[in-house]
Amino acid sequence: MAANMKLILSTSNVMSSGQSVMRRPIYSKSNVELVNGLRANFSLYQHHFSSSNNPSDAYKQWTTQEDNTLFVPVLRPQTLSEPRESYDITVKLFYLPGIPASRRCKHTREAIDLVLKELGVQSVDLLIVSFPGVSFDADDDGEEEMSEDESASADSDDSQGLDAQVKSWKVLEDYHSRGIISQLGLSEFSSDRLDKFLPEVSVRPTVDQINVKDCCVVPKTLIMYAKNNNIELLTHNDCMDILPCGTTRELLGPGDGGAHILASNPDSPDSEPGLKGNIEPQWVIKYTAVVKDRGVVENKGYFAMAQLGESEDGLPSKSKC
């Protein structure tokens, strides 16, 4: 039996599980923190509630379902311990590749709401958005071809074009005007890309986040462009496809270290325990709350939403996981 369901995955505070995210060299771009954070959090809850005799239902002990949304694990907000103004709260919203841009408005709302609730706050200081297919390195190599692709955004995937980016940005501008987000930022934009983007938006980004390798290689053109446009260049080490669908199935599936929520395959036989159907991650949001004056990271974590089965808008899923 295939279910249509939204799964909200959460890591809780990854700062207190440093061990699980520290295993690899951290300089390379990675999603180790997200994936290991989810795995560690699932297994913590799993072990804690492993009393059930019926392993196929065991997950129900530590997840909650509300309508057709399953929270994995159950939400336990860890609200901030000091007054709001003590913190610098940054969130980074990853729109994932292959997901129709038409869903972004709704996704944005879901994601931001979860973070506000988790931290017990009304607003965040900075939201950085990561658009799929936007990679600074890729731009470096084939800028021309890339921009042709973009202008011809009627291409198979509309989610990667400039139009879609601007449209999504309008949604964020609305949060900005309502005071929920103080500043907006972009990720992995080259100066060319910024140059096309800026004239199209009314709330300008104040931040562009780029991945920096050992050599600190930043093209001068971008440094100058950012300076002239009052955009601060920040560093990050997130990878491009932060939550592939295969990883998601592995995390939720019946394998070793899996959460035993999903079946091993989308079309596993009914005899196999676990939910059936395609799983397709839709968005990821990362939040970080830093005590400003002391430089202490008090809370950092991720939420991710994955669609199981068909999504509400009925658009076909590209996922084969």
């Binding site: 599980s17 336990r76 050599c215 600190c216 290689v217 202490v296 990271v297």
Partner: protein, 1103 residues
């Protein structure tokens, strides 16, 4: 050092009797302070560093360095400087008053124990704001500059831990005073060595009096090849009879094989790097105190800087134990040498030692971690408990208060000021442990609870001092953010402190360290009943937040649930502790991730700007490099300097001249070099990006701060036809230079393959193209009419010379390489060049405007199968009157041809030289020496045995050419050295033999000679810069050394490999740094990633 109090100090006999009173009053003051401040919250992290300097005077005439006893004069000059005063008091101890906050804050200066010492601190505390962190290094540099400006002629602020010849027999101080004064009674140093403020001589005298003899420092001497063994410190005088204490040496105070010292100045005259943090509140302070404690010995080993005492190399690397012994006031009873009779207890450690307590109220602190031999004053502890203090903190202070106060002012004993801190501080500040927990001062409500990290040695440069300061600050944030648990039993830290003293402990020894620093999250208990709950139910309870909704596991855990304490830690190298397990195969049982990876992970959780991150990486790289051995500690560097000094006799003695040269080098380094890292060849490296792929580069001869870069861009192979693009672009040499100058750029529908400026006509720029021709451009400079400053550099097309005709199917040849001949042939510029079709050509280039005369363009020879010819060199040999032309190609062949110049000398011939009349003759075609394409040839010229000035035999046999040396680079990843022997090549078809070779992974695409010079008598050095194709760029040293029997040894050595490129490196160029002697500023470019990287290399061996 705090503010210096004035008053009448008690001699030891009186002070002894007042000790109990001072302790009790100190405890009362502590209780008051604690009560007032135990709930104090300070939201901000504030921190400060302290840098201590020796004042050294360099006497150029006598080639001698002396310690200058000019502390008072320097501080006086600073306090009287009207300009400085505008910013508030710069010497608070002299001028009184608090430093005015929130003004432009200049650093402040303070007196220290030694009269040859200065201390400088930032004018206001630093915050965690990255802008502050990036200012630290600049501020430290400023402190040094200000200090230097207020010193006398020839005096320098030097950040060495100790003066290498403190206490020698000569006049090592200026002004000179003889030793053996009443306060120190030292046979090596005078009383005048100490700050004359009454506190300091009293401190020294009372330590000596309490102890019942002089302090005793015996440091094992470094056993060098010619050190007399057993070693008896030759500077000890056994026949002195000025003071009763002179008997000490006759009673065996000086130990065999040790350097012996006998005064507080030998320890307290050391310079340290100390960092103080303000904690959020008392609890955070207590956590930081505990968690930073195990790091003390590790950072001591990493900062090791003390290999010399009293004119001898010693067998230890750090200062710590010497200070410990220099202030050790324990009696024979307390030391356990005689049974307890008058004293209260035996005391295991000096007042200056690693710390002995943990103080955090932390559920992770297991009783097994505490020091089982801790001595405390039970009565005072009870008083603190009665006053409401918790057991843990009361124990800590009751431990510090086992000591006697050393300097008591009579005025202070009249009445207890319960709101003061003088009695408390009397003991607190004379307990010099490696961590210090500091209560807020009663007179300043703005300051919170603080923790001081005290083990680090001062470093020679401000870059290093900033790096270690910032590293500790970042570590403290990492500890709090990740809630790290670094606890190990205190006695293990004490052991580590000893290990840190060993020579090269940083690389060779292991330290006890906790394996897993992360919080335990396994067995949450008790199980909260989990009701299915609505996800947006607001949390109603006001309980303390818990981890993941569970109660923090450790808080509920009993010791019985925990693994044995001994399983929690193991021995690790400093490298494993700092860089983590990935870097080296270590103890597989260790899960410790490494402090640097933790810091980087922390930084990646913050919003850090690109420039900030790169700056911080410089600091982290220094620490990572120290830990993995790629960068030396100061101690290793100093030891190396001494042992390599020509005057050093390998007998451990560090002479006056060696000391002078050492200090001179250190001072010059700091004045000349921006930072220490450049000294070690790991300079600040930066990159720029281009819009097209760079493959050649040339420095503009008349404006060496600019370069021309040639590019070659080929569209994707799938495109038909493939399109080519290229450009010539002028750029600044350094990424941040010359912004206001307009720099030209020309774009083409062909690629540029090689670029050369003409050696005689500097403005002519030749460019080899993918269109079978060499084009000439002129670089013109335009100056601003008003300011006369360079306004723009323009590239103007001049003319072009066709080199290679089309192939039959219309393809144009790429001109792969060309080289101008140093002499004009027939009054025309001439060149040799190679082409894609395999030809090596000699070309007499017509002058601009003239129709090219293709007859003056001849093929010298051809590679096999018309595979690409890649590179060529032409040399005019005036002795044999021939032109030698060497070329290499994709067929792995190295071909040498000769063109005889008929009749007379070359100089006569050149004017009428007509290429059509020449008949080049192939001398040899070697295909045995290279296993892949030969892509670079560099002509080194005459063999050193026939170099200028030595070549007398040339005249004896005028028909013979001297033996020549040349280098080749190949795709087969080798750089090779060849000898082209005499006699005359003309007759020779002999084999070509490689006489030297080095494997350079990635290949050798271009070779540039940076420098040639002679070291020692007969060693010729060639410094080569190599474009290393697939793996970056190399600096390689080639040495040619004549042996005893006139046989020669040739050796290659990689001096530096620059590995930051991620694509093929085709072009390199370098020029001498204008400021730093021996430094080369290098540019290398890489192809597909279109990067230009600037980096540096310092030639340490050039005189």
């Amino acid at each position: 050092m705090g503010l210096l109090q004035l008053g009448t100090p008690l001699g030891w006999d009186k002070a002894k009797d007042a000790a109990g009173q001072v302790r009790e009053w100190g405890i009362e003051q502590l209780l008051t302070i604690w009560r007032k401040n135990k709930d104090k919250e300070r939201a901000m992290l504030l921190w400060g560093d302290e840098i201590e300097y020796l004042v050294v005077e360099l006497d150029q005439e006598q080639q001698k360095a002396r310690l200058s006893l000019s502390q008072a004069e320097v501080l006086q000059a600073l306090s009287e400087d009207k300009e400085l005063q505008k910013h508030g008091p710069i010497v608070p101890d002299y001028q009184g008053g608090e430093v005015v906050k929130n003004q432009a804050t200049l650093p402040t200066f303070h007196p220290e124990f030694g009269r040859f010492m200065l201390e400088a601190t930032p004018g206001k505390p630093w915050s965690i704001d990255f802008k502050d962190l990036l200012e630290v290094e600049e501020d430290m540099k400023l402190r040094r500059v200000i200090a230097k400006q207020h010193m006398g002629k020839g005096q320098y602020p030097v950040t060495l831990t100790t003066f290498p010849r403190l206490g020698t027999k000569d006049d090592f101080i200026t002004p000179y005073y003889p030793p053996s004064g009443p306060a120190l009674r030292s046979q090596f140093v005078p009383d005048e060595i100490a700050n004359p403020h009454i506190r300091f001589p009293t401190l020294a005298a009372n330590i000596r009096s309490r102890r019942g003899r002089k302090v005793e420092l015996n440091v094992p001497v470094f056993h060098d090849d010619k050190t007399q063994w057993p070693f008896h410190d030759p500077t000890v005088n056994y026949h002195m009879h000025n003071w009763p204490e002179d008997d000490d040496v006759r009673n065996g105070a000086a130990k065999e094989n040790c350097v012996y010292m006998d005064a507080m100045a030998f320890g307290m005259g050391s310079c340290c790097l100390q960092i103080t943090f303000q904690a959020k509140n008392i609890n955070e302070g207590r956590v930081l105190y505990d968690q930073l404690s195990p790091l003390g010995p590790i950072l001591l080993a990493l900062t090791a800087a003390t290999p010399i005492y009293k004119g001898f190399l010693v067998d230890t690397d750090v200062r710590w134990n010497q200070i410990s012994r220099a202030v050790d006031d324990r009696t024979r009873e307390e030391l356990g040498e005689v049974p307890l009779k008058n004293d209260r207890w035996q005391i295991p450690k000096s007042r200056y030692a690693s710390n002995s307590t943990y103080i955090a109220q932390d559920s992770r602190l297991r009783p097994e971690y505490l020091d089982p031999n801790l001595v405390i004053d039970q009565k005072l502890k009870q008083r603190l408990l009665d006053g409401g203090m918790d057991d843990m903190l009361a124990t800590h202070f009751a431990h510090l208060f086992i000591r006697d106060p050393l300097v008591i002012f009579a005025e202070d004993l009249k009445e207890l000021d319960v709101n003061g801190s003088n009695h408390f501080e009397n003991l607190q500040s004379t307990n010099w442990q490696h961590m210090r927990f500091k209560p807020p001062p009663p007179d300043n409500p703005n300051i919170g609870w603080r923790v001081e990290f005290r083990s680090m040695e001062i470093q020679m440069t401000d870059f290093e001092n900033a790096a270690f300061s910032i590293f500790i600050v970042l570590l403290s944030r990492v500890i709090l953010s990740f809630d790290l648990n670094l606890y190990i039993p205190i006695p293990r830290t004490t052991e580590n402190m000893e290990v840190a003293h060993r020579r090269e402990a940083v690389l060779n020894d292991k330290f006890w360290f906790r394996k897993n620093p992360f919080p335990r999250k396994t067995t949450p208990s008790p199980s909260p009943p989990l009701q299915p709950q609505h996800h947006d139910t607001n949390q109603t309870s006001s309980e303390k937040p818990t981890v993941n909704g569970f109660a923090n596991s450790a808080s509920g855990a009993h010791s019985s649930d925990l693994p044995p304490v001994d399983d929690e830690y193991c021995l690790m190298t400093v490298n494993e502790i700092i860089n983590g397990p990935g870097s080296m195969a270590g103890d597989k049982g260790s899960q410790f991730p490494g402090l640097i990876p933790l810091v980087r992970h922390y930084l990646s959780s913050l919003n850090v700007s690109v420039t900030t991150r790169c700056q911080l990486e410089r600091y982290l790289d220094l620490i990572a490099g120290r830990a993995n051995g790629s960068l030396w500690t100061n101690s290793k560097w100093i030891r190396h300097f001494v042992r390599e000094h020509p005057e050093y006799k390998h007998d451990s003695a560090v002479s006056e001249k060696v000391t002078y040269d050492l200090i001179n080098t250190v001072v010059a380094d700091i004045e000349q070099r921006e930072d220490w890292s450049s000294k070690n060849g790991a300079g600040w490296e930066i990159s720029r990006s281009l819009d097209q792929e760079p493959d050649c580069i040339a420095i503009v001869p008349d404006h060496p701060q600019y370069v021309v870069i040639g590019t070659y861009s080929l569209s994707a192979a799938s495109d038909t036809p493939q399109t080519k693009r290229g450009s010539l672009q002028i750029h600044t040499y350094s990424p941040d230079g010359g912004r206001d100058v307009e720099l030209d750029r020309l774009d083409f529908d062909f690629g540029i393959y090689d670029l050369q400026f003409h050696p005689l006509h500097h403005e002519w720029l030749g460019a080899a193209t993918s269109h079978g021709e060499i084009r000439f451009y002129v670089v013109t400079s335009h100056y601003d009419e008003v300011t006369d400053e360079l306004h723009s550099l323009k590239l103007t097309y001049y003319w072009h010379v066709p080199i290679e005709p089309h192939s039959d199917n219309g393809n144009q040849a790429i001109i792969t390489f060309f080289q101008f001949l140093e002499t004009e042939i027939g009054r025309l510029p001439s060149l040799v060049t190679t082409t894609q079709f395999g030809n090596t050509r000699l070309v007499k280039a017509p002058i601009a405007g003239a129709t090219p005369d293709l007859s003056q363009n001849i093929v010298i020879h051809k590679q096999s199968m018309e595979l690409e010819a890649w590179t060529t060199v032409a040399v005019v040999d005036t002795i044999t009157n021939q032109i030698l032309i060497l070329s290499g190609g994709d067929d792995s062949q190295l071909i040498i041809s000769s063109i005889a110049l008929s009749g007379g000398s070359y100089t006569e011939a050149d004017a009428r030289l007509d290429l059509t009349r020449l008949s080049p003759q192939k001398l040899l075609a070697d295909r045995r020496n290279h296993s892949a394409g030969v892509v670079a040839i560099f002509w080194l010229g005459r063999h050193p045995s026939h170099a200028m000035g030595e070549g007398t035999d040339v005249q004896d046999t005028p028909a013979q050419s001297p033996p020549y040396l040349f280098l080749t680079g190949s795709y087969d990843e080798h750089l090779r050295l060849f000898l082209l022997p005499s006699p005359s090549l003309h007759d020779q078809k002999s084999r070509l033999e490689t006489i030297g070779t080095i494997h350079l992974e990635g290949g050798v695409w271009r070779i540039i000679l940076l420098d040639t010079y002679t070291t020692e008598v007969l060693v010729t050095n060639y410094i080569l810069l190599i474009a290393g194709h697939a793996t970056g760029a190399f600096v390689v040293r080639l040495t040619c050394k004549r042996g005893l029997d006139d046989d020669w040894e040739y050796a290659f050595k990689v001096e530096k490999q620059f590995t930051e490129h991620e694509s093929l490196v085709y072009a390199v160029v370098a020029k001498k740094d204008e400021l730093v002697h021996g430094k080369w500023d290098v540019i290398s470019t890489s192809f597909y990633d279109k990067k230009i990287c600037n980096w540096g290399w310092v030639d340490e061996e050039k005189e």
